[in-house]
C-alpha cells in the first residue's frame, strides 16, 4: 500500500480531530477522500505528511512512518494544501523554480507543458493573481516533479470548469503512469468523475471505503408527489427502489434509489398535480452511508 493508516487518532486538546482512522490506498489508484467541512479530511492529510503528530495509531506512506521519516516521504510526494500562501513578490515561474530546486529532479519540458495546459501566466507576481490562478500555481508545484504520490486537498477550489477538466485529465495521466493520487474533496461529482475508490469520513471517523460504483448505489432521490386526492400508500410502498414513504394529506414523500420509472408509472394512475425530485446533498448521502454502516 502507498498509504496505510491504522487506528490513526488526532486530538487537539479536548477537541476532536480524527478518531481511529484506518485506510489503505493502493499503488496506481486515484483515491477520493470525501467528507463535509470539518469532517477530518485535512487533519488526516496533515498527519500523513508529518505536519501533525498523531495522538495514537500509525500512519505509513511508501511504507515509511509518516512521523519518523517525513523528509524521505516528501522526496517522493507532491502536495497541494487546502489553503496555502506563497511568495507575493515572486512570479509564478520563479515560485515554481524555487520549489523545483527544493524538490530536485524537475523535468522542465513537463513543467512547461503543465504551465500551458493549466493556462498559467508565469510572468505575473503571486500577489497579483486571482484565487483560481493561485490555485493553479499550487497545482504546478505539486505536479512538476512527477511525484509518485499526489496528495491534493480540495484541489479544484476556485478553478474554472475548463481547467477542472484539464486537471482531471492530469490525474488520469498520473494514474496511467502508475502514480498514486489521494484526493480530498467535498464535491461528489468530482470524485465520481476521476476516482477509482472512495473513502467517506464524517465527524472524524471513516464511514465507508469502497469503489465509486458502490458510492453511486448510495445515491438516491428524494421524491415528492402531490395529488388531487388521497392515494393509497400501498401503491408505492412495494415498488422497487422505493423506501421511507410518508403521506401528509394528498402529498407523498419517498426515497427512490435506482430508476424512477416504476414511481412515474404508479403515479400516472392518479391525478398528479406536482412532481418534485431532488438529488440528496452530500450530507444526506453521508447520513445514509452512516446509517448503512451502523
Amino acid at each position: 500500500m502507498i498509504i496505510e493508516t491504522e487506528r490513526l487518532t488526532k486530538r487537539y486538546g479536548t477537541r476532536r480531530g480524527i478518531d481511529e482512522v484506518t485506510l489503505a490506498v493502493a499503488p496506481g489508484e486515484i483515491h477520493g477522500f470525501l467528507g463535509p467541512n470539518g469532517a477530518g479530511k485535512t487533519t488526516t492529510i496533515r498527519t500523513l505528511l508529518g505536519h501533525l503528530r498523531p495522538t495514537s495509531g500509525t500512519a505509513r506512506v511508501f511504507g515509511l512512518d509518516a512521523h519518523a521519516d517525513p523528509v524521505a516521504i516528501h522526496r517522493r510526494l507532491g502536495y497541494l494544501p487546502g489553503e496555502f500562501g506563497l511568495y507575493d513578490r515572486l512570479t509564478g515561474a520563479q515560485t515554481a523554480d524555487y520549489f523545483a530546486r527544493l524538490h530536485g529532479g524537475v523535468d522542465t519540458a513537463y513543467r512547461d507543458a503543465l504551465i500551458a495546459r493549466l493556462g498559467i501566466d508565469p510572468g505575473r507576481r503571486f500577489r497579483e493573481l486571482s484565487k483560481g490562478n493561485k490555485q493553479k500555481i499550487g497545482l504546478l508545484i505539486a505536479f512538476q516533479h512527477r511525484p509518485g504520490l499526489l496528495i491534493l486537498d480540495e484541489p479544484t477550489s476556485g478553478l474554472d470548469p475548463l481547467v477542472q477538466q484539464e486537471f482531471q485529465a492530469l490525474l488520469r495521466e498520473a494514474r496511467d503512469e502508475g502514480r498514486t493520487v489521494f484526493l480530498s474533496s467535498h464535491v461528489l461529482s468530482e470524485v465520481e468523475a476521476v476516482c477509482d475508490r472512495v473513502t467517506l469520513i464524517r465527524d472524524g471517523r471513516i464511514v465507508r471505503t469502497g469503489k465509486v460504483a458502490e458510492l453511486r448505489d448510495l445515491a438516491h432521490h428524494q421524491v415528492l408527489l402531490r395529488f388531487a386526492d388521497t392515494v393509497p400508500v400501498e401503491a408505492f410502498q412495494g415498488l422497487p427502489g422505493v423506501s421511507d414513504v410518508e403521506v401528509v394529506d394528498h402529498t407523498l414523500r419517498m426515497r427512490v434509489s435506482g430508476p424512477m420509472t416504476p414511481v412515474v408509472r404508479a403515479a400516472a394512475g392518479y391525478e398528479l398535480l406536482d412532481f418534485e425530485s431532488r438529488e440528496p446533498g452530500l450530507e444526506e448521502t453521508f447520513l445514509r452511508a452512516y446509517e448503512t454502516a451502523s
Partner: protein, 532 residues
C-alpha cells in the same frame, strides 16, 4: 453602526491594555521615581540647572526645559515626547489597520455605507484613544497626589487634563495623517510615511537651531504648534492644541471620504526599483531575499541617522572640550560617557539607535514568522527539507539580512566620521556592529519562541524584548534603580565600542541569543504540530 464601532474596540483591546500600562503606568511610575531620586530642593535645583545648561544637541529629543525643578516639570521635560510617540504610534497602526486592513472587504459588504463604516470604526478608535489619554491624565494626577514632596510638585486636575488632551490631539493628528493616506497607498506605506513625519518632526523641532533646513521644516509639524504646551510643568497653552486637533479632524475626514469614494484595495502605484529576483536557490537565500528590502530600509534609515550623529559628534566634542563647565555638567548626567571626545559623544548618541535597531529586528522576524500563518510553511515542509533545516537555513538568511542592515548603518556612520574629519574612521564603523548584534539577539529570541510555540509570535516577542529593554534602559538609571535592574537590559552590557571599549560578555550574550535562538527555534519546530 454601533456594532462596527464595538468591533473597533474589540480589535483594539490588546492595544488598549498595552497603552494603558505604557502611558498611565509610565507616568505614575516615573513621577514616583523622580520624587524618590531627587527628594530635596538642592537636588532639584541642581538637576534643573543641568537641564537648562545642556545644549540643543543633547536635549533635542526631549521637551523644553521648563520647571524641571518640579516633579511634573522633570517628567514633562524628559518623558513628554516619549509619551506622545507611544500614543501616536498606536494611533497610526490602529487607524491604518481600520482603513486599509485585511478585513476590509468583508466589512464593506455589510448593509452600511462605506462612509458610515469608516466613521464608526474611526470613532471607535478615537474612543479607545480617549480612554487611554484619560488614564494617562489620571496616572499623572494620582502620581501628583501620592508622590508630591516639595513645593510645586502638586499636579492639578487642569495640568493632568492638559497632558491627556495633548496626547490625544497629537495622536489624532499623526493617526489622522496615516488614515488619510491609507486608502491611497495602503497600510504599510501610509504607516511608514506618518511614522517618518512623527519622528522627523520631533527631530526637526528639537534640532532646529542646529540647521536652517530643520528650522524651515519645524513650523510645519504639530510638535512645533504645541511647543509651549507643557502641562506637567504647569504651562498650559490650550489654544495651541486647536491646531493639531483641527489637522487631525480634517485628515480623518479625508481618510473617511477617501475610503468611501475610492475602489477598495486600489493603490496609487509608487515608483519603486524592481530588483531582479534572487534567492531562488534554497531556503537561506529565499529568506534573505524576502527580508532584504526590510533590511535595506532599516539599514538606510540607521545609516542616515548615523551619518548625522557622526558628522556632528566631532564639533560637539570640540565644544565640550572648550567648555569644561559644560562637559562637567554633561558628565554628571551621563557619568559613563566621555563627551569631550568624538567617539565618546557618538557613543552616547548611538544609544538612541538601539531602539531603532531593535524594531528592525521586529520587522525582520515578523516577516519570517509570517510563513506559518500564511500557509507557506505547509508548502515548504512538504518538500524534502526537514523542519530543523528549514529554521536553521531561514535563520542564516535572517542573520544575513541583519548583516546588510548593519553594514548600511556602519557605512552611514563611517561617512559621517569622514565628513567630520575624524582621523579614526574604523573605530566608529566597527562600533556600529553592536547595533547588528543587538538586532540579531532580538531576532534570535523571536525565532526561538516562534519555533517553539507558533512562528507568528516571533515578532511580538522580539518587540516585547525591545520595548522592555528600552524602558529599563530609560528608566533604571534615571530613577537610580538597583544595578541589577538596569543589568536586565541587554543594551547595558554592550560596552562603548565607539571608543574601542568592547564588552565581551555582552557580545557573547548577543551571539548566544542569536545563534542559540535559531537552534532553539529549530529544535522547537521539529517537536510540535504545525498550526494554520
Amino acid at each position: 453602526m454601533t456594532t462596527v464601532a464595538m468591533r473597533a474596540w474589540r480589535d483594539a483591546r490588546r492595544g488598549l491594555i498595552t497603552l494603558l500600562i505604557l502611558l498611565a503606568g509610565l507616568v505614575f511610575a516615573v513621577l514616583g521615581g523622580v520624587a524618590s531620586a531627587y527628594p530635596t530642593v538642592e537636588a532639584r535645583t541642581e538637576i534643573a540647572r543641568l537641564a537648562t545648561t545642556l545644549g540643543p544637541a543633547a536635549t533635542g529629543m526631549t521637551g523644553p526645559a521648563v520647571g524641571v525643578e518640579t516633579m511634573g516639570g522633570y517628567v514633562q521635560w524628559k518623558y513628554g515626547t516619549v509619551l506622545v510617540v507611544i500614543a501616536a504610534v498606536w494611533a497610526i497602526i490602529a487607524l491604518t489597520g481600520t482603513i486599509a486592513g485585511k478585513a476590509l472587504e468583508l466589512l464593506a459588504a455589510v448593509p452600511l455605507s462605506r462612509r458610515r463604516i469608516a466613521l464608526a470604526t474611526t470613532g471607535g478608535l478615537a474612543g479607545v484613544l480617549t480612554v487611554v489619554c484619560a488614564a494617562a491624565s489620571a496616572g499623572a494626577w494620582l502620581g501628583g497626589q501620592v508622590f508630591a514632596r516639595l513645593p510645586g510638585d502638586g499636579i492639578s486636575v487642569g495640568m493632568a487634563a492638559g497632558l491627556g488632551a495633548w496626547l490625544w490631539v497629537m495622536a489624532l493628528a499623526f493617526g489622522g495623517l496615516a488614515s488619510a493616506l491609507a486608502p491611497w497607498f495602503g497600510r504599510a506605506v501610509s504607516a511608514w510615511i506618518a511614522g517618518v513625519v512623527l519622528v522627523g518632526g520631533l527631530v526637526a523641532v528639537g534640532y532646529r537651531t542646529l540647521s536652517p533646513a530643520l528650522d524651515a521644516i519645524a513650523p510645519l509639524t504639530p510638535w512645533a504648534w504645541t511647543h509651549d504646551h507643557l502641562p506637567l510643568a504647569g504651562r498650559l497653552d490650550w489654544a495651541s492644541l486647536l491646531w493639531p486637533l483641527l489637522a487631525g479632524v480634517v485628515l480623518l475626514g479625508v481618510g473617511v471620504e477617501s475610503f468611501a469614494r475610492r475602489d477598495l484595495g486600489a493603490r496609487v502605484g509608487l515608483p519603486r526599483v524592481r530588483m531582479p529576483a534572487f534567492g531562488l536557490g534554497g531556503v537561506a537565500g529565499r529568506t534573505f531575499a524576502e527580508r532584504f528590502p526590510t533590511a535595506v530600509a532599516w539599514g538606510s534609515g540607521l545609516g542616515v541617522l548615523g551619518f548625522v550623529l557622526a558628522a556632528t559628534s566631532e564639533s560637539m566634542a570640540r565644544q565640550f572640550a572648550g567648555s569644561p563647565a559644560l562637559a562637567d555638567t554633561f558628565e554628571r548626567i551621563f557619568p559613563d560617557f566621555d563627551v569631550s571626545t568624538a567617539g565618546g559623544f557618538l557613543q552616547l548618541l548611538v544609544q538612541l539607535l538601539f531602539v531603532l535597531a531593535g524594531f528592525a529586528a521586529v520587522g525582520l522576524v515578523t516577516g519570517w514568522g509570517a510563513d506559518e500563518e500564511t500557509g507557506r510553511l505547509e508548502m515548504l515542509l512538504a518538500t524534502p527539507v526537514s523542519r530543523a533545516g528549514l529554521v536553521l537555513r531561514g535563520g542564516i538568511g535572517l542573520l544575513g539580512a541583519v548583516t546588510v542592515m548593519t553594514a548600511l548603518a556602519a557605512a552611514g556612520v563611517g561617512l559621517g566620521a569622514v565628513a567630520a574629519g575624524s582621523t579614526d574612521v574604523f573605530q566608529p564603523v566597527a562600533g556600529t556592529a553592536v547595533l547588528g548584534l543587538f538586532t540579531a539577539a532580538c531576532a534570535g529570541v523571536g525565532v526561538a519562541v516562534g519555533g517553539i510555540t507558533r512562528m507568528s509570535t516571533a515578532g511580538t516577542v522580539a518587540g516585547a524584548v525591545v520595548v522592555l529593554t528600552y524602558l529599563i534602559d530609560l528608566v533604571a538609571p534615571a530613577l537610580r534603580l538597583p544595578d541589577w535592574v538596569h543589568g536586565l537590559a541587554l543594551t547595558a552590557h554592550l560596552g562603548k565600542p565607539m571608543v574601542g571599549d568592547w564588552d565581551p560578555v555582552g557580545v557573547t550574550v548577543c551571539v548566544v541569543l542569536a545563534v542559540g535562538g535559531v537552534l532553539a527555534g529549530a529544535a522547537g519546530l521539529s517537536r510540535r504540530d504545525l498550526s494554520h
